[in-house]
Structures are given as structure tokens and as C-alpha cells.
């Protein structure tokens, strides 16, 4: 019973989406009452959602549990295959295409469709439900990366000179010349932005609905093919060859964050979907798990990774050469985190790993085609029809496209903390005016004093010399309050400084005497 309560509490916390409002801060009784009602509603809804999740989900999640002295990471794919139903066993296969590799791949948000791109120009879209190839064609030039746009109808491929956008039938729709020779592509689903990094280290953001180039920035760290979108906030992270990592948004030309992650070049990058975890791997054979709230290392795991990916349930797949390992649960010690390992046939070089959404499947694109293996417990078992539906009909897809276009986010909503949107900025207390502001104020006052026209008076009283004198006086009067205030502030700051020097700026050796003196007093 206690276990049950604890479990429900944890799930409820997820649905509460953060801390409750602090009612003690407010003096306004009316507001307090309204907030209290709101909080109550939130807690009721969180409870209901937690129960829904526990009891009403149509599918059960996967799991892999050891028995006796078994080690999880020793369990092989072949032994799993004997235990699972045929329906799932179909998801374990190798496609051998030795001529066009290495292969890069991408899934749609629902995990129903996969697009693959062989480096030597082989592009294909595969329906994963019945394993049928929807379209397959050769572009006869280097293809470095491929990415789906908002649904399976369109995908973009980074080819030798430019990236191109194709539709499902393989028709070339656009050639995006402005991007140049792109190494890596990413698509921001909520914003309808296609982000690319080219061989000169330039980062481009293009709105695929209007065609507007939203941002075009020089990263300034040279060529890099390590780029990844943080799905939590839409920030694009780029790993550089000197071990630094920079995070970008389309509305500022300077990076949001620059951090030194590794001693060697960064080779791979992945983000957890909750936005708190980031995994990086460097040339110095280290994989680091970062807490993005503190920008601090949680774990350092020795090992190399050419490519990494987080699953929906937070499993991290890292592949190098022909070796793939899956890590999980980064809260405990390091040895616990190793979940599964897999070796593809010797000599195959892994190019890209990607978890298939809503399935316990990891797809590995490598130099000899692609493979699919089973990672139990990695996928979210229950999908939401209105978010990503693997069984979507074409009518639903059309409907969805329109709704997602209506909800398209402007590029300004990309920021490190997206929960800030919709909250009100607290009014900043007005600090001291800066020197420039003060000067401008004085100048304005002087101008005003100058512009006063002096009336002509009786003879002799409005001689030019007198008028000039009067004007001088007026200017002096206008200046006076400012000067007085300045003097007053100076005096204050001087006394303050004096006090500070008395208190703290004693030589180190004398400080304990000062303290002693106080104590004796």
C-alpha cells in the first residue's frame, strides 16, 4: 500500500508541472482565495491524470529484469528474441546494403515512418508498420544527413552542395542554396524551423512554412557536424572541435551558452526529452552526462561514442564502431547505469543511432545498411492520438497539419527556460541613473534655461551684456540641483567606503585583533 502511494505521488508530481504558488507572499485576500481554488483544481487534475496513466493506458510498457546472477548487459539480442512474441520479434532485423553506406536515419514523431540516407546517394522512406518501402531513389551525390519535416510527407536531405527538400514521392521541392554544403540538419517541430550547420560552421534557421531565413549565424569555431536540438526548449546545441559546446537560438547572434565539455573534440551529443539531461562524448574517450539546470557534470563514463540518442523513457544509446551500449538511470552509481550492450557484425561502422518513438526499438544506421534491435522498456507505451499517432489516417494527418500550423510558435519562444513564457516579469526597482542619463538630463535642463526669451524692459535694463549675464545665471540655476545632488551622493558613498575600509580592509594579520577588540567590547 505504501509503495502504491509513493508511486502515485511520483506520477502526480510529474503532472503538477512544478511547485504550487506560495500563498503566504500575497496580502491580497481575493487573489489568495482565487489562487487557492486554482491550486486545488490542479491537484485534483494531477491525481486524475496519475490514475489515468496507471490504469487506463491500453498498452503495457516493456521491461527487462535479471534473474539470479544474470547481468543485464550480458543478455544478447538472440536470447531476447526467443522470449518475445512474434509481433515484436519482427522488429529485430538487419538490412544489408553494402554499396551505399554508411546510413543515416530519422523517424517521424509518431515512429511510424523512417527515412534513411546512404552517404552515396541512396534515399528511402520506409513504413515501419508493415516494413514496406514507400519510396526509394538515388540522388547520385553525397548525402550527409536526412531529417523529416513536420510529417512523413516531406523530408530534407543534406547533399553535397546544398540541402534539398523532397516529398514522399521523391519529387524535389526545394533546393536551399542559402544553407551551403550542410553537414547536419535538425527540424524544430513546434516552430517549423529547419536548422542546419554547414562546412564553414554557419548555423542557418529557415522557416519551412514561409521560406523566411529566420537566422544566419557564424558559430566561429570552424567545421562541426555535431548538432542537436533540445526538444524541451528548442535550443540548438553545437559541439565544436575544441571540446566546447555552444547553444543557440534563432533570435540572437551570440550563443546563449558556451561551455567547455571535453578536452578533445566533441563527437556526439544527445538531449533527454525532459530537458534536464544532456549527454556529450569527446575524443578523449569520455561520455559525460550533464545536468542542464546547473550546467554541471552528473556522471563521467569512460568510453567513446560516434553517435548517441536518448529514448523517450530516458535510456541513452551510444555507439562507436560496431559496438552499441545502452545506459539508463543516471541517479545511482556508474556501474548500475549500464543496461544493455550489442555488437553489430564486425567491421561495420555505426553512423547513427535513433530510438523509435513509442516502441522498444533502437535503429542503428551503419556502413553496411541499418539494423534494428530490441531495447525493452525504452519506449513510451501509450501514445496520444492528438500528439503523435502511429495509426494516423490521411484525414487525421491533414487535420493535424492544420492544427499544428495554427499552434506554430514564433522563433522568439525559443529560450533556455521555456516555462518563463506566460509569466509576468517582476518590475525592476529603478536603480541609480547612469552617468550618461544624468548628463542628458543636465543638458536638457540647460537647453530649457537657454531657450527662455527674456522680455525687453526699460532702457538700460536689457543691454546685451545684462541679458547675457541673466542667461548665464539661469543656466547656473538649472544646473544647481543636479550638482547638489551629486555632491550629496559623493559624500554618502565616501562615508560608506570609509566604513567598509574600517571593517574589512585590515591586513590579514591584523584581522583577528579587530575581532578580539569587538569581543572585549
Amino acid at each position: 500500500m505504501e509503495d502504491y502511494d509513493e508511486e502515485m505521488e511520483i506520477t502526480e508530481k510529474k503532472y503538477l508541472r512544478g511547485e504550487a504558488a506560495d500563498l503566504k507572499v500575497h496580502n491580497d485576500k481575493k487573489l489568495k482565495g482565487q489562487l487557492a481554488i486554482r491550486e486545488k483544481l490542479y491537484s485534483i487534475s494531477a491525481k486524475a491524470s496519475a490514475k489515468t496513466e496507471k490504469y487506463l493506458g491500453p498498452t503495457e510498457g516493456g521491461c527487462l529484469e535479471p534473474e539470479g546472477f544474470e547481468k543485464l548487459y550480458r543478455i544478447s539480442q538472440s536470447s531476447i528474441l526467443t522470449e518475445v512474441p512474434i509481433l515484436s520479434a519482427r522488429n529485430q532485423y538487419d538490412i544489408v546494403l553494402p554499396d551505399f553506406g554508411p546510413y543515416s536515419l530519422d523517424f517521424t514523431a509518431s515512429g511510424r515512418y523512417m527515412t534513411v540516407a546512404g552517404r552515396k546517394g541512396h534515399l528511402a522512406i520506409v513504413d515501419m508498420k508493415d516494413m514496406s518501402v514507400i519510396k526509394e531513389f538515388q540522388v547520385r551525390e553525397t548525402v550527409r544527413d536526412v531529417v523529416f519535416l513536420h510529417n512523413e510527407l516531406f523530408f530534407a536531405a543534406a547533399q553535397k552542395k546544398y540541402p534539398y527538400i523532397y516529398n514522399r514521392d521523391g519529387t524535389e521541392l526545394h533546393c536551399l542554396k542559402e544553407h551551403g554544403a550542410v553537414l547536419k540538419l535538425q527540424f524544430l517541430r513546434n516552430h517549423f524551423l529547419l536548422a542546419s550547420i554547414n562546412i564553414f560552421g554557419q548555423l542557418h534557421y529557415q522557416d519551412v512554412t514561409t521560406g523566411v531565413m529566420v537566422g544566419n549565424f557564424r558559430t566561429g569555431h570552424g567545421r562541426s557536424d555535431v548538432m542537436r536540438v533540445n526538444p524541451f526548449n528548442g535550443v540548438v546545441a553545437v559541439g565544436h572541435s575544441r571540446g566546447t559546446l555552444s547553444m543557440w537560438k534563432p533570435t540572437s547572434s551570440a550563443p546563449l551558452v558556451k561551455m567547455l565539455c571535453h578536452q578533445g573534440a566533441i563527437t556526439a551529443l544527445a538531449f533527454h526529452s525532459n530537458g534536464h539531461l544532456m549527454a556529450t562524448s569527446g575524443m578523449e574517450r569520455k561520455i559525460k552526462i550533464w545536468d542542464l539546470r546547473k550546467f554541471d557534470v552528473l556522471h563521467t563514463i569512460s568510453g567513446h561514442a560516434k553517435t548517441m540518442d536518448f529514448s523517450q523513457k530516458g535510456h541513452l544509446a551510444a555507439a562507436t564502431g560496431s559496438f552499441v551500449q545502452v545506459l539508463r538511470d543516471f541517479s545511482g552509481s556508474q556501474s548500475d547505469s549500464k543496461y544493455m550492450t550489442h555488437s553489430i557484425a564486425k567491421g561495420y561502422q555505426a553512423q547513427k543511432v535513433a530510438f523509435r518513438p513509442y516502441e522498444d526499438v533502437l535503429a542503428i544506421g551503419h556502413s553496411m545498411g541499418w539494423s534494428s534491435i530490441l531495447i525493452p522498456g525504452s519506449g513510451e507505451p501509450n501514445f496520444d492520438t492528438w500528439v503523435a499517432n502511429p495509426y494516423e489516417t490521411s484525414k487525421q494527418r491533414r487535420e493535424k497539419e492544420i492544427h499544428s500550423l495554427l499552434d506554430k510558435l514564433p522563433p522568439e519562444t525559443i529560450m533556455l527556460d521555456p516555462t518563463k513564457i506566460g509569466s509576468v516579469k517582476p518590475t525592476r526597482k529603478k536603480g541609480k541613473p547612469s552617468k550618461q542619463e544624468r548628463e542628458a538630463e543636465i543638458e536638457a535642463a540647460i537647453e530649457e534655461a537657454k531657450s527662455i526669451t527674456i522680455k525687453k524692459k526699460t532702457k538700460g535694463r536689457s543691454k546685451p551684456s545684462r541679458i547675457a549675464k541673466k542667461k548665464q545665471e539661469a543656466i547656473k540655476n538649472a544646473k544647481r540641483p543636479f550638482i547638489e545632488q551629486e555632491e550629496h551622493e559623493d559624500k554618502l558613498s565616501k562615508t560608506k567606503r570609509k566604513r567598509v575600509t574600517e571593517d574589512t580592509e585590515l591586513p590579514k594579520s591584523l584581522q583577528r585583533f579587530a575581532r578580539n577588540k569587538k569581543a572585549t567590547e
Partner: protein, 500 residues
Amino acid sequence: MKVKVIARSTDEFTRERSQDLQRVFRNFDPALRPQEKAVEYVRALNAVKLEKIFARPFIGAMDGHIDAVSCMAKNPNHLKGIFSGSMDGDIRLWDLANRRTVHQFPGHQGAVKGLTVSTDGRVLVSCGSDCTVRLWNVPTATTIEESNGSSNNSAEVSGSNILMTIGGIQLYAFSFIFFTFNVKRMFTDFAAVVFCLLTSFFTNSFRAVDHQWDGNLFATAGAQVDIWDHNRSQPINSFEWGTDTVISVRFNPGEPNIFATSASDRSITIYDLRLSSPVRKVIMRTKTNSIAWNPMEPMNFTAANEDCNCYSYDARKLSEARCVHQDHVSAVMDIDYSPTGREFVTGSYDRTVRIFPYNGGHSREIYHTKRMQRVFSVKFSCDASYVISGSDDTNLRLWKAKASEQLGVECNFCSSKLLPRERKKHEYNEAVKNRFKHLPEIKRIDRHKHLPKPIYKARALRRLMTDAQRRKEDRIRAHSAPGSMRKEQFRKKRIIQEVE
């Protein structure tokens, strides 16, 4: 080793036949919806823009009167019927659905100043400046429909009145109206005879009348407040406090024996029929034109004042207003609460109709048209979805209470005008709008209202004047001894005194 892997069979997640509905599965996990707050904000922004686009509050005008509409009464028993009285003595019963006159009640010699209907909806009481109070038999809904079917224009009525005079009372024994059609129809129309039950002549002209919510009594206001019974030709009780004319009277919806009046001596008075004298009154700086009780919180009422504001009072504590509703730029002439008690409608001399929340300082909506002149009476319909205004330009106007609400025929299954999915969408939009209503962009769009130029200018002028006044007061305060001039609350400022 124990292994379990996600396995979905297609049959469970797709429909069997093409006639079936698509199956919908939900997972409310926030992790599946990245940046949900930003998305909700965008949805709220879209919703508030759509609301502005669809804001078409004016439904239609009902013309027929030949003089200004002075008063209206809604029939509590019949949703689409409304009575209106005009300055030339004409009383009409309107069918709101067809926007046509259904019946006329001829008889008043001067302006009709007050109209009210008994709670059962059978008796209409009218009073006017011809010093008469008249009781009318209200034609029932079925006869209205019958006559409606037979007469395509109610202006074609001719009547003959046979008067019987007994003492000071004229009894209209048969004052029937028959329609100039064929004989067959004439017989059916006998049911639609308008029958004036009782006419009482009096010495003073009347200004207002209101019927008890529960009971047989009604009160008229004029030189004094008189309480009448349906069956008597003389008032059964009279109240007087001061010498000035009483302008409006309104019975409390909760306690049938309590009513409030406002008089031209700037007072609002509370009466109790069980006591021989008035209970208490509050004297304000300006006259109150009309009063409306909140039907859901019957201890509270709102007074429409000459100084452009409305004041909500708690009847138990008249020393300060609970809330001051300000936005009108000229005297507020009439006020009526929505049956939900959450908002009320006001009509003003500045030619606009506004809708206020019951506890908000500013209006949520302003209605105006080029042709609408000074508004003398307003009413909320009994289903809280329409507003009716009667103005100086002899027209009644029908407005939607929610400017962007969708009109239409009710659905048989869900007792709503919308399909369930539509309704859900509207509810969702309302919720996100409510959630982000404090954000500047959404607030700006939501608050933006087009104002006619004279009102815009008048408002600017008023603001200038109030600002100047406040500045002056501040200066006087700054130059007087500290504590000698206390800052007065706005809620108390316009109240002179409360008299028990």
C-alpha cells in the same frame, strides 16, 4: 531473465469498419508535449483574435413605436416576449424571435412610465403620466402564436372599447381587438382578446412600477410610494419619506416584502412592507435613475447614477458602496441584472449600452450603433444570452450578451447550440484565454473596443477633469496640516450620509 516488449496489434488501435468512429487514445504526460506553455499561449492569442473577429453583437432593431421607448418589462413566463411602453402611451408586446409586435395595449393617454409583469406572467401592470395604473390581461403564449399565424401585420388592428364606469374606476369589460380578416379567422382570434382588467385614476402622475416576485402586490412610485393589490382599485398602503418625487422602485427577488426606491432628492431608500415606515436610506451627491437587485445575491443591489457611474451596495450597509462601476460618460438611465447574477447591463444617456461584471470596476462590453440614440431602458433576457435596449429613436434593439457567441438551433442530443466537439473547443479557448489574460498582448487585444468619436472624446475629457481634480486635492492636502485632510475612499466619496 524476464522480458516484456511493447507490442501493439493494429486491430486494437484502428477501427474495424469504415462506418466506425476513429479510436482516440490519450496520454497526458507533459513529456510528450514539449513547450506546452508556449503553445498554449499561442492558442490563447489566436482565440482572443478570433473572438474579436466574430464579435457581431447586434441582431436587429424592432421598430413600431412612434415615440421614444421609455420602459420595458420582460415576461418571466415567456422567454421570447417582451413588453415595451413608449412616450406616446403605446404599449406593445414583442416577439423577440421574429422581432415583430404581437399585441398592442391601447389606453394610456400620456407617456407610459412604468411596466411590470406579475411572476406568473398573466397580468401586466402599466402606469404613466396620465395618472393611471392599468392592469392588463396578458395573452397566453398559444394565443400569441395563433394570432401570429393569422396576422402578418399587427398594425392592422382596429378595436372598439365599451366602457363601464363605476365610481372612479373604469372597467374595460370588453376591449377586444379583432383582426380584419375573414370570418373564420375572426372567431379563432376571439381568444386573443386583450382585456384590460382594471384602471385606477389617481391624483399624481406615476414614474415607475414594480411587481412583487412572489405575491399579489405591486408598488408604484410617483409623489409617494404606493402599494397596490390586484383586486383593489385603491392603494393598500403608502409610504412617504421627504417631499421629492420617487423615480424608481424595485422589489427584492429574495425577500418579497422588501423593495428599494430612488428619489429625485438623490436618495436610495429601502422599504419593508411589514413595517409602517421606510427602513433606511442613503443620500448621495447625485440622483439615482434606476436600481436593480442581484437575483443571485439578493442582499446586493446596483444603482444607476446620474454621475455616469453605477454603485453596487449591500442593502445592510449603505454607508459605503461595495463596488463602483465606471465607464459611461453620461448619466446611466437604466440597469438590469442578468439572471445569473454575474453581470448586469446598463443603458446610458451617452447612447451606449454596456455590460459590467457584478464585481468589476469597468465594463466588459460596449454596444453602440450609429442610429441608436439615448438609451432609456435596458433588459437582460431571461436566459441571459440576449440584451434588449430601448432608446430615444423609438426602436428596441436586440443584442447578444456575448458578442462573439454562436447563434443557432439547439441540438437535440446535447441541449446546446454547438456540437459537442465544437463546444469543447470553445471551452478550451475560454480556459486558455482566462489563463493568459494578464499578459500584455492578449490583454491589449481583449480590451480593445472601437468607440464612437464623441464618446472617445468625452472619456478623454472626463479623465482630464478627474485628474485635475485629484491633483488639486493632492496639492491642498500637501499644503494643509498633516492628518487634517483625510484621503477619502472612492467608494464612499459620492455618499453624503446614511439615514436610519
